[in-house]
């Protein structure tokens, strides 16, 4: 009888909870209460049903026979016979069957085209960003920047003018203390007033490299903790990244604003198979 009492109690509690949910809803709703009342309403049903089944229904154990293997002897041979009978009539028309194979193949090729329409061709897209010779570096509010406006040891995320928010063009400006910066060979003159610019896309898996520690001149990627050494051309100094962050060649235009000398000279972001075939 305990089962019956428990089940009855559970159903009553469930009913009360469900009705209370209606009240809460009408009064404007409240997420925690809604979840709790839903839980009690459903839980009461669950407890009631299980208690009912456990205590008041036949639990056996019942025994039922089972076939260890489902196959019956001889049946598969009959199937094979029927199939081969049919197949033989097809096989007599060799030429037709081959033609069918060819036209199915051709259709397979035709079916590729809609899939091709799903996206643009990668082509050289992964090798370029929106930076061009003379693109002004602007903040995400579209503000151009003079080197002197940047406090020493600060970082700022910029985009090329006209392409604010474009993912592959996000770039970090860092103003280094005067004299700290030694350009890598071939990168002389890329850092007017000791302002350097690196791609903000982590070369590991593409997260924005968000954190800069001025005391060690290191950039950190929060996703898998890659570390990049800014004074060494942002080459990886820890974590899983294997390639340096590409550097954007900077210059100053006639009005004193920071501009790019060109696009990045290597592909930005994580690697792909033909990255080195620039």
């Amino acid at each position: 009888m305990r089962g019956a009492r428990l089940a009855a109690l559970a159903f009553v509690v469930s009913t009360v909870a469900s009705l209370s949910l209606a009240v809460v809803y009408v009064l404007g709703g409240q997420a925690q209460l809604e979840g709790t009342l839903l839980g009690v309403g459903l839980g009461g049903l669950g407890v009631g049903l299980v208690a009912w089944a456990k205590h008041l229904m036949p639990t056996g154990p019942f025994v039922q026979a089972r076939k260890v293997t489902l196959a019956r002897t001889g049946e598969i041979e009959e199937v094979a016979e029927s199939f081969e009978e049919g197949a033989a009539t097809i096989g007599r028309r060799r030429f037709l069957a081959r033609l069918l194979a060819v036209s199915l193949g051709a259709f397979g090729i035709a079916a590729v085209f809609p899939i091709r329409s799903l996206g643009t061709s990668p082509g050289r897209q992964l090798f370029h960003t929106s930076w061009r010779k003379g693109s002004r570096a602007v903040t995400d509010a579209g503000q151009p920047i003079r080197p002197a406006e940047l406090p020493v040891d600060s970082v700022l995320t910029v985009f090329p003018e006209g392409a604010v928010g474009v993912e592959d063009s996000q770039t970090l400006l860092i103003r280094l203390p005067a004299g700290d910066y030694r350009p890598l060979p071939g990168r002389e003159g890329w850092a007017p007033d000791d302002v350097v610019a690196f791609s903000k896309i982590c070369t590991h898996a593409g997260c924005p490299v968000g954190l800069y520690r001025a005391d060690t001149n290191q950039l950190f990627c929060p996703c898998h903790q890659s570390v990049f050494d800014v004074l060494q051309g942002a080459k990886p100094a820890g974590g899983p990244a294997t390639t340096a962050l590409p550097q954007l060649p900077l210059d100053v235009d006639g009005e004193g604003y920071l501009v790019a000398r060109s696009d990045y000279t290597e592909p930005v972001g994580p690697g792909f198979w033909n990255r080195n075939r620039a």
Partner: protein, 483 residues
């Protein structure tokens, strides 16, 4: 009335024979057999709550200005997708609770699937004739993980946006076809506006339909082959011992559905999940830290973090770093899982049909391999939070990463060896016991009982259970060291 309806249907379909068989069908009764059912009921909850969410979600990246009850973001530029999720969470009555139940259901769904998989593996339920269902189940697990990720990515918040960026980077890392594949899926270079709309239709139609179809086949095969059973008194290869579907098993199962839905409702109401308003809308150059995916992708995240900074060049072609941990490792993982029943049949030469389950101790090598593998993925999972661990212990991330790398190699060996020894000892112990007392011990109590008389595992609750288990295991191992 009901009788007349039944007669009407039977007249048209001749369904009476099937119904008669169905009502009397016997199902073995064991708590571990409910794991798959729990997963299935999570799927039902996912469908019900998910349909509700689709009525409010706007799968578009078009820019709009958010205005609603969440003041801190009022007036900011966000995508329509993000705005609609905010609207659903703050302005639609019961919207938030249903969204959170949906997310919790997804998390529990995959957890139940993995637990179910472990149950199947450790009781060797995948052997002939159940290889097909193993393969179908594996496919269901992969589809579910994939759908979890697509759903997680829909709100277009900062956390999920970064997750998508990583997925794109992993895709382009595949040699030769990677960039093309990524461009076809994302509609071009990363950042093209199509992706949210595409993910939406994948998330709400393609994958759920596939899951529903495969799940149907999965269940139909269980029905046809009849469920496996433990070797309880009276059980044999040629029978099923348990409860009849009608009325007991069906009532219990419906009760379980309500129970699962109840737990998910409590979670959805009381435990916050995926608060997209705290992460903020996606913006290309922003990132939230620390950033972790849902748990079912934690092992992949861990693999990305723990894999050393290696990168290979072959004939001037690059194999990017992420290719190995994020494509090759899952490839091997799922490939091995798919092939496991066949590999094991081939290694053991056991091609006979099995309907009675083995206990883990009956097959020490098998169990040890399973535990070693599990421990490896557990290390990866914890590797996915190496930054949090480092913060917690006030250690440099680098040393935490190295610790995990070493553990990833040492722990599986240790766990495998220990499991093997333990299983062998348990088996010997069971044999001895069988020699002295004719009645077999209940399966789970053996370890606790081995701790000696009056260990009272039950009295001390879960901690006592594990404590007694560990003590028992220790004594067992010592006792059987010589054998």
């Amino acid at each position: 009335m009901l009788k007349r309806l039944a007669a009407w249907i039977d007249d048209r379909l001749g369904a009476a024979a099937f119904a008669e068989e169905a009502l009397n069908k016997v199902f073995p009764d064991h708590w571990a057999f409910l794991l798959g059912e729990i997963a299935m009921y999570c799927f039902v909850v996912l469908l019900a709550t998910g349909v509700f969410l689709t009525f409010f979600f706007d799968a578009s990246t078009a820019k709009t200005v958010y205005s609603g009850h969440y003041a801190p973001l009022n007036g900011s530029q966000v995508s329509s997708a993000y705005s609609s999720v905010m609207h659903l969470s703050f302005d639609i009555r019961m919207g938030l609770v249903i969204r959170q139940i949906h997310h919790w259901a997804a998390v529990v769904f995959i957890a139940a699937i993995v637990a179910h998989l472990c149950r199947i593996f450790f009781t060797s339920a995948f052997r002939r004739p159940r290889e097909i269902n193993w393969v179908l189940g594996m496919t269901l697990m992969i589809l579910s993980i994939f759908n979890g990720f697509t759903g997680y990515s829909l709100p277009d918040d900062l956390l999920s946006g970064v997750g998508l960026r990583i997925a794109y980077s992993i895709a382009i890392s595949i040699p030769f076809i990677g960039p093309w594949m990524a461009f076809l899926v994302f509609g071009g270079k990363f950042g093209s506006p199509q992706i949210i709309g595409r993910l939406f239709i994948i998330h709400v139609l393609l994958i759920p339909a596939a899951i529903a179809g495969i799940l149907g086949a999965h269940l139909a095969i269980v029905w046809r082959q009849k469920h496996t059973q433990f070797l309880i008194p009276g059980a044999a290869e040629s029978n099923v011992v348990g409860e009849r579907l009608w009325p007991t098993y069906a009532t219990k199962s419906v009760g379980l559905f309500f129970g699962v839905a109840a737990v998910l409702s409590f979670l959805g109401g009381l435990v916050q999940i995926n608060p997209v308003w705290l992460y903020g809308p996606y913006a290309a150059a922003q990132v939230s830290s620390p950033a972790q995916p849902d748990w079912y992708l934690g092992w992949l995240e861990g693999a990305l973090r723990l894999f050393p900074a290696w990168q290979f060049q072959i004939f001037g072609l690059e194999i990017p770093n992420v290719f190995l941990p994020a494509i090759v490792l899952p490839g091997i993982t799922f490939g091995l899982l798919y092939a496991w029943p066949f590999i094991e049949a081939w290694r053991t030469g056991d091609y006979a049909p099995h309907h009675v389950l083995d206990r883990p101790r009956d097959r020490p090598v098998h169990t040890a391999l399973g535990m070693a593998t599990l421990s490896f993925y557990a290390v990866l999972l914890f590797g996915g939070v190496n930054d949090l661990v480092a913060k917690w212990f006030q250690l440099p991330v680098e040393s935490v990463t190295w610790t995990f790398r070493i553990m990833g190699i040492v722990l599986p060996i240790l766990v495998g060896w220990l499991t093997y020894r333990l299983m062998v000892a348990l088996r010997l112990d069971a044999w001895e016991r069988a020699r002295h007392a004719p009645s077999p011990e209940p399966v789970l109590a053996a370890a606790g009982a081995a701790a000696g008389p009056g260990s009272g595992a039950a009295r001390w609750g879960l901690a006592g259970f594990f404590g007694a288990g560990a003590l028992g295991a220790w004594r067992l191992l010592r006792r059987h060291r010589r054998e």
